[in-house]
């Protein structure tokens, strides 16, 4: 009773501070997050629905959508397999240099996107290490689809591994060991024990990986060469239309990417609410803690 009375006595000035802080935070969130998002859709529909739809069904836009999907369909599964393999090795076995391996997996996150594209130009470009050899054999990587895929793979490499490593570390290997002792084959163990245990975290990682793969701009812009209809992904198409002052066209394609972002956020939030304990509060949490060093 006494304590209750005390809380109420100090409640009103504190309440005022709470409201002020909430208001301040909301002003910032609206200004920095809601307004840019709203801008995309308002600008896209600036001239009405018809010009919007017309801008999307243009052949360049459609081929950009196809290319974006193609790049993601190749890059994401490759990084998924890598993520599972890396997480398995790092969380189930002891070996030297594990911390270093963890640091290298995270490396693409601290490399500028432009540099991520640049490195492949230096390898496979006309003046690059393998440039002359590729040229002789008529293989095009830079200014072609393989370059886009490689640059995207580089940028999105850490996502799946980063989700799985802390989770599998926390889960431990007892269930898998039990399965083995009871006579399960390696693949039986993987598909019946490991995979069901990590499925939501895996989906979560794939979701983030895919969002970045479809939205990557800097790295692909360096290796693309901006050949309309051939090497322009959706973000590059947005850039080209914007620079040509085709604002409705640019924001129309941008609105599709924004929808993808919203869908990603929705599924991500849903996964966090429903399977929160099976997803280590992923986020860009301190990597040093996550790799257990």
């Amino acid at each position: 009773m006494n304590a209750h009375a005390r809380t109420r006595a100090i409640a009103w000035p504190r309440r005022l501070v709470h409201v002020a802080l909430i208001a301040l935070a909301l002003v910032f969130l609206v200004m920095f997050l809601v307004l840019p998002l709203a801008t995309v859709f308002v600008e896209a529909f600036d001239q009405g629905v018809k010009p919007y739809l017309a801008a999307i069904v243009q052949p360049e836009a459609l081929s950009a959508i196809r290319l974006t999907l193609l790049v993601a369909v190749i890059a994401v599964p490759l990084n998924l397999v890598f993520g599972v393999a890396a997480a398995w090795a790092m969380t189930r076995f002891a070996f030297r240099g594990k911390a270093l391996l963890g640091a290298i997996i995270d490396l693409p996150f601290s490399v500028s996107p432009v540099v991520s594209g640049l490195v492949y130009v230096l390898l496979f470009g006309a003046q690059g290490w393998f440039g002359p050899w590729l040229d002789q054999h008529g293989i095009k990587i830079i200014f072609a689809v393989p370059g886009l895929v490689l640059a995207t793979m580089f940028v999105t490499l850490p996502f799946v591994a980063r989700e799985l490593i802390p989770l599998m570390q926390a889960q431990g290997s007892e269930e898998e060991e039990a399965a083995r002792v009871l006579g399960a084959s390696a693949w039986q163990m993987f598909f019946r024990v490991t995979l069901p245990n990590i499925r939501w975290a895996l989906l979560y990682g794939v979701l983030l990986c895919n969002a970045r793969a479809m939205g990557e701009f800097g790295a692909v812009s360096v290796v693309s060469g901006h050949i309309r209809g051939l090497t322009t992904t959706m973000p590059l198409e947005v850039e080209m239309r914007y620079n040509e002052y085709d604002y409705v066209g640019a924001f129309a394609v941008a609105s599709l990417l924004a929808l993808l972002a919203l869908l990603t956020l929705a599924v991500k939030t849903l996964l966090e609410w429903r399977y929160g304990d099976e997803i280590p509060r992923t986020r860009p949490v301190d990597t040093r803690k996550r790799h257990g060093t």
């Binding site: 910032f28 969130l29 890598f82 432009v114 540099v115 290997s173 939205g215 812009s221 991500k268 949490v285």
Partner: protein
């Protein structure tokens, strides 16, 4: 013991290492190798050029300032999201990750439209003499946008697990609320704030897509280092582009190491105090 029971050590580690080697290490080796092509003199000439210096200063300086601003705003937002209940809280919480999910090019053109003289925000700021679009201030705004989720997402779990008894102890000893915050809570959060700072910084230093639209890209004024790399590449100056890339990477690693040192120091300080 474990090694004998669980299968797949060789194949999983071998695959991971091969993949990393081909996708990450070999390309980065090519970068370092190509950068040596311009030689020591060329490097000095490149790095002492006023245009290069200005671009590096903008990328690194802007990233530092934006990360600092994000620490303040991130602290406020995560505090509000963790401690208070209000309508729409979960929606805003989910929205915090928007800068991760929204492609940078989309963010770039949206921010530019927003802050252009006729934009929703620009039209209020221009009469006050605040020019955001096509100035270094615009670069800063874009960097704050992309770095924003890092501080909030690092801070949230720590704030949520912060024991209230420390605060209650401080208050029962007669501390004012603001004293409790600045002298008890803030020191406890310092290492986490530094982590968030480092993540936001690392992201902003190399940021390209969201910045180039709003920056206006005027040489020596609002031109960022990654754009300079792209320009060198377009002029087929591969060695120059590589050298600049190495310079940018080295700068951000030096900064991150400094933050790590600071963090270790603040950790020790917190532990001693506790």
């Amino acid at each position: 013991m474990r090694r004998r029971v669980l299968p797949g050590f060789g194949i999983s580690l071998g695959y991971a290492l091969t993949y990393l080697g081909l996708i990450v290490l070999l390309p980065l080796a090519a970068l370092a190798w190509k950068a040596t092509d311009i030689g020591f003199e060329g490097l000095v000439r490149l790095l002492s050029a006023p245009r290069t210096l200005a671009a590096l200063r903008l990328s690194v300086g802007g990233a530092l300032v934006s990360a600092l601003i994000n620490v303040v705003i991130g602290l406020l937002v995560s505090w509000v999201l963790v401690r208070y209940r209000f309508p729409g809280r979960r929606l805003f919480d989910a929205l915090v990750d928007l800068p991760f999910a929204l492609p940078t090019a989309v963010a770039g053109i949206a921010l530019t439209t927003l802050y252009a003289p006729k934009g929703w925000l620009g039209r209020w700021l221009e009469p006050l003499g605040i020019h955001v679009a096509y100035t270094p201030l615009g670069v800063l705004v874009a960097m704050i946008f992309v770095g924003f989720p890092f501080v909030v997402r690092t801070l949230q779990p720590v704030l949520a697990s912060l024991e209230r008894d420390v605060e209650e102890a401080a208050e029962s000893l007669g501390a004012q609320r603001w004293q409790t915050f600045f002298r008890v809570i803030l020191p406890l959060l310092a290492p986490t704030l530094l982590t968030g700072f480092a993540l936001a910084l690392a992201r902003a230093v190399g940021e390209y897509g969201s910045v180039i639209f709003i920056a206006g890209n005027m040489p020596r004024k609002s031109e960022i280092a990654p754009l300079l790399i792209v320009q060198k590449l377009e002029q087929f100056n591969y060695a120059g582009a590589a050298a600049l890339g190495v310079a940018l990477l080295s700068l951000s690693f030096v900064l991150l190491v400094l933050v790590a040192v600071l963090q270790r120091w603040s950790n020790r300080w917190t532990e001693q105090a506790a």
